[in-house]
Symmetry: C2
Subunit: 199 residues, 2 copies
């Protein structure tokens, strides 16, 4: 299923076509080279002082089903209904300190968000689908995977090939079929002064 | 000047070729359609609860030189030496609250980072160059452009066409010519357990 963004002027395909679907094909694995390419895309994101504050924990069901299950168990039930078919899960974490001086890094989450969406866009370019979830138990994940307090957990992210929407049921299916929406450009982007719509 | 990322497996061109250069062509304007396409790319970034917490203030020197100057005056001198030739400046801000309930949004900066890098990648796809700066006076910008306290300023971002590196001098030229570097994959990306290198 394709749900390209509706835009006033064209944008690049991989940006227009990235979307957070739910219908995953449980039978199609993501290859190791694909996983590395996703991480390379994240690795080359920009960051303040070149700090690279992101840390990603990766679980591939086809490499280690028990470890994947441990990550899956951290996801809230509402997301588990569809995330169960995603062969790869990634927990995205952000360093709260700068590496060069251990002082607080106010861009830790900001730069990590850039790295995560770079992974998602690279996935789109490979024909894969990603979905970032806020709905997971961060404390449970921290304990399960020994994540130091210095790092914030930001997002659990699923990766895999898309399946037919009919593999979903109930609310997940409804949400899969509803149109993608964004606020109008003028509410978010301003021309020179706060609240002055760009368009 | 092209400085593509060095990767173990290929990644998409617009991700590999995005880089934060400093040599801008002061004589080549960014068109209004190009600006809108950059903002559309940001607009379609993913966000927690679909909140879209990003707000961007945009200044185009060729539309309003005085307003652009006011933004430029917020940039620290070290960055002004090269940012002076960038025709477009963008101040990226993040909402600290969710729109639907006014509660704190712990993903405000994270999602805003995704929107900002989406703009940068769209710029690369149009042959434009971006550079995000942490080096600007956020308080000065807040006062100058009436930015409400509810929004954090995250990054000042330059947009324009690249110029020959010889248009730069001193440290900016040196940095422009030095190779791009990132930490090894295994320091940032872990296989199932914290600090277990993916590769």
């Amino acid at each position: 299923m394709q749900k390209p963004a509706t835009t006033q002027v064209p944008i690049h395909d991989i940006i227009a076509n990235r979307w957070s679907g739910r219908a995953y094909d449980a039978d199609k694995a993501v290859s190791n080279d694909q996983i590395i390419s996703l991480l390379e895309a994240a690795r080359w994101a920009p960051s303040c002082f070149g700090d690279q504050p992101w840390r990603f924990l990766v679980w591939d069901k086809n490499q280690d089903a028990a470890a994947w299950q441990k990550a899956f168990d951290c996801i809230v039930p509402g997301n588990q209904t569809w995330a169960k078919d995603a062969p790869v899960l990634v927990l995205v974490c952000a360093d709260t300190q700068f590496n060069h001086n251990q002082k607080p890094n106010r861009w830790g989450a900001y730069d990590t968000g850039a790295a995560a969406v770079s992974l998602c866009l690279q996935a789109t370019s490979l024909g894969l689908m990603t979905h970032q979830m806020g709905g997971y138990d961060g404390d449970k994940a921290r304990t399960a995977f020994n994540i130091p307090e210095q790092y914030q957990t930001m997002s659990m992210l699923s990766v895999g090939y898309a399946a037919d929407v009919d593999t979903l049921e109930g609310e997940a299916k409804e949400r899969e079929m509803s149109p993608r929406q964004r606020r109008p450009l003028g509410e978010l982007f301003f021309n020179g002064e706060w609240n002055q719509p760009i368009i």
